[in-house]
């Protein structure tokens, strides 16, 4: 799922204009709720906090919150229509997709991001997520025993580990596991060690964003 982290509350406040008088905080009920960053509870807590801040600095600001199932589909955005009409500024707690979708749908409104969207990740523990995929557009997991070198090696190396990994730890940071140690362990388990370095490099990055901003048409709706 898409994982995100709520921005520091002072960053959010600083992104709001000083003469702010009304604000809509739009929560998103899907991925960023699952990753505990932008759901209804976060929207409400953020409202409480900002209310308290403005109250302490005796600034009249009316803040309302509204959380919809997803901010990446028009139909759900319709549910925000009235609330958006009441406010000049919308703080979206959706991932980057939701923020921009709102911006497309309401060109005259200032749409501010409340989250720092980070990666596609798995939940590794309660309240902890790990990056698993970069969306490179050409999956090569079959050749690396189910462990992606692009996403889980800090240098996306495709021909084995760099010289810096030690005891399965990445040279960049002790908290990061060396992706190639994981590839090696799993390949060894599955008996796929020999063909591990048979990847016909270099990788074609044109399927990634490097190949230009991407869109995708489902063939069952569009004939060439």
């Amino acid at each position: 799922m898409i994982v995100g982290k709520l921005k520091d509350v002072n960053e959010i406040k600083d992104s709001l204009p000083d003469d702010l008088d009304s604000l809509l905080i739009a929560g998103c009920g899907s991925c960023v709720s699952v990753s505990l960053a932008g759901g209804e509870r976060e929207a409400e807590s953020l409202k409480n906090l900002l209310d308290f801040y403005y109250q302490t600095n005796n600034q009249e600001v009316s803040i309302e919150t509204e959380t919809i199932k997803r901010q990446c589909d028009d139909e759900f955005l319709d549910e925000l229509e009235l609330a958006i009409a009441r406010n000049k500024i919308v703080l979206s707690l959706a991932c980057g997709v939701g923020v921009q979708h709102l911006a497309i749908k309401y060109p005259d409104k200032i749409i501010l991001p409340g989250l720092d969207t980070t990666f596609y990740g798995r939940t590794s523990d309660i309240g902890e997520w790990e990056e698993m995929c970069h969306g490179c557009g050409k999956c090569i997991l079959d050749q690396f025993a189910g462990v992606c070198p692009v996403a889980r090696c800090s240098k996306s190396l495709l021909n084995g580990p760099c010289g810096g990994s030690q005891d399965g730890i990445c040279e960049v940071d002790d908290d990061i596991d060396c992706g190639w140690q994981k590839i090696y362990d799993r390949a060894e388990e599955l008996g796929q060690l020999e063909k591990l370095l048979d990847f016909d490099f270099p990788k074609d990055w044109s399927t990634h964003k490097d190949g230009g901003v991407r869109s995708h048409k489902d063939p069952e709706f569009f004939q060439e």
């Binding site: 002072n10 009920g29 709720s33 209804e40 509870r41 906090l49 959380t67 309660i126």
Partner: protein
């Protein structure tokens, strides 16, 4: 589950003969556990058991894993050992670390058994501390009378070489002993423990055992009602009181079978429209009281299993869980300091202080009593901060005496995050305080609140 017989008790691992209608499932074959006390549904994949088994109570009873401490020596715990007739028998316990009391019982019986099977055999018994259990202080006297040589060693006074030569050095004696060594193995958590913790959704145990080190779980409870733990699944000293623990557990099951009622009488419902099945409530619940409802594709709170700590409500990202009660009723506008107290520690301590001194320690504060400080959400604290200029003191429990096992830590996390946010907005973070105490700190609490009242209120 029409048709399949409902068992009163399901044993996971080893079984003990009882009069309950029970079934035995091996830990390896167990795949999943749904439901709550009185109505568990166990899924397992082994030929001689049906796939779905319905049971009212569950006992996880697995043996310890034994790790030999001396390479090549026999284990004290296995009965078939072989003594060469010209060599002495050397019993070793507490090496390198102290063995549980149960081991000294086994060791004493073993020493007596060897003495009368091999009367002219020299028997040495090396130990750091003779731990007593039931009648084995008599066994100790008997063993000494039977001529068994007891050698007490302290840390560092006993070393064993690769070729099983024992050297026992004290300032006054130096002994080299060679012979058949029967050593007490180190007892490790049962195999499959980690897997079972996942299957039963139990809070991480102490030293990788299944039971968290918490007084409310003693002796064999698991934090999840109806699921009990024995021996190698429960904890390091589970063999010392094995008889009492088994007796207690079977007694609890007998009582459960006469009917189990809800612990908490507030109504908690999960709105299946808002629930996104993110499993946060499932993971955060200390009592394994939440599971997924397949038809509704939403999480569901199991009434009998729920023990009312409200952690699920305070951590649900979509605010999908409602309760028909508001602990934080309208905060009155008066500038009274807000005191959020847990009913298991601060409230009892305050009552005790009152009964001892006649004074009301909580008077002058706005008292908010919660079943556990894990009920406290960020919005509660911020709304209180906004409602008047008074401080907020949250009084939770000391760690190992928290009835809801993790409530004290969850509250600490909420409070720490609020303080960080307040600081980032240059708001006064020192208005929020969190203290942990036990119900027996009455005078301490009384004095503390009195001093605090002077400092804060006037």
């Amino acid at each position: 589950m029409a048709g399949s017989p409902k068992y009163e008790l399901a044993w996971i691992g080893d079984k003990v003969e009882t009069d309950f209608k029970d079934i035995q499932i091996s830990a390896k074959d167990l795949v999943a556990c749904q439901g709550e006390v009185g109505d568990f549904i166990l899924t397992c994949n082994d030929r001689n058991n049906p796939a779905k088994i319905e049971a009212a109570n569950i006992i996880i009873n697995l043996p310890y894993q034994e790790e030999p401490v001396i390479e090549g020596a026999d284990s004290l715990l296995n009965d078939n050992y072989y003594l060469k007739d010209d060599e002495p028998a050397i019993i070793v316990q507490d090496y390198p670390d102290l063995s549980p009391a149960f081991i000294s019982k086994v060791a004493l019986k073993r020493s007596l058994e060897i003495k009368n099977n091999y009367p002219d055999q020299e028997v040495y018994y090396l130990y750091q501390a003779m731990r007593f259990l039931e009648d084995n202080d008599r066994l100790y006297e008997e063993a000494r009378k039977a001529g068994i040589v007891f050698l007490k060693f302290d840390i560092g006074q006993l070393t064993v070489s690769e070729d099983l030569k024992l050297s026992y050095e004290r300032e006054d004696i130096e002994l080299e002993l060679a012979g058949t060594i029967l050593a007490a193995p180190e007892l490790k958590p049962a195999d499959q423990t980690e897997r079972l913790a996942r299957i039963f959704n139990l809070v991480d145990g102490y030293q990788d055992y299944l039971q968290l080190d918490n007084i409310y779980l003693q002796p064999t409870q698991s934090g999840r009602r109806g699921v009990y733990l024995l021996r190698g699944s429960r904890g390091p000293t589970a063999l010392t009181y094995y008889k009492e623990e088994l007796d207690f557990t079977l007694g609890e099951i007998a009582k459960n079978l006469t009917g189990v009622n809800e612990i908490d009488d507030y109504e908690r419902t999960i709105d299946d429209q808002k629930c996104i099945v993110c499993y946060t409530c499932y993971r955060v619940c200390p009592h394994g009281a939440i599971q997924r409802d397949d038809e509704l594709n939403s999480m569901k709170i199991m009434e009998l299993a729920c023990q009312g700590c409200n952690l699920c409500i305070s951590r649900c990202p979509t605010s999908a869980i409602e309760i028909d009660h508001d602990y934080f009723t309208e905060a009155d506008s008066e500038d009274k300091t807000n005191l959020i107290i847990c009913e298991n520690s601060a409230e009892i301590a305050a009552e005790k202080y009152n009964s001892m001194t006649g004074e009301e320690p909580l008077s002058g504060f706005k008292e908010i009593v919660v079943p556990c400080v894990s009920t406290v959400e960020r919005k509660n604290i911020i709304q209180l901060l906004a409602s008047n200029s008074a401080d907020i003191m949250v009084l939770g429990c000391v760690a190992e005496a928290c009835k809801h096992l993790t409530g004290h830590d969850r509250c600490q996390q909420v409070i720490d995050r609020i303080k960080e946010d307040l600081e980032k907005l240059d708001l006064n973070k020192d208005r929020v305080h969190y203290q942990r105490l036990s119900p027996r700190m009455a005078t301490d609490l009384g004095g503390f609140l009195a001093d605090w009242k002077e400092a804060v209120i006037q």
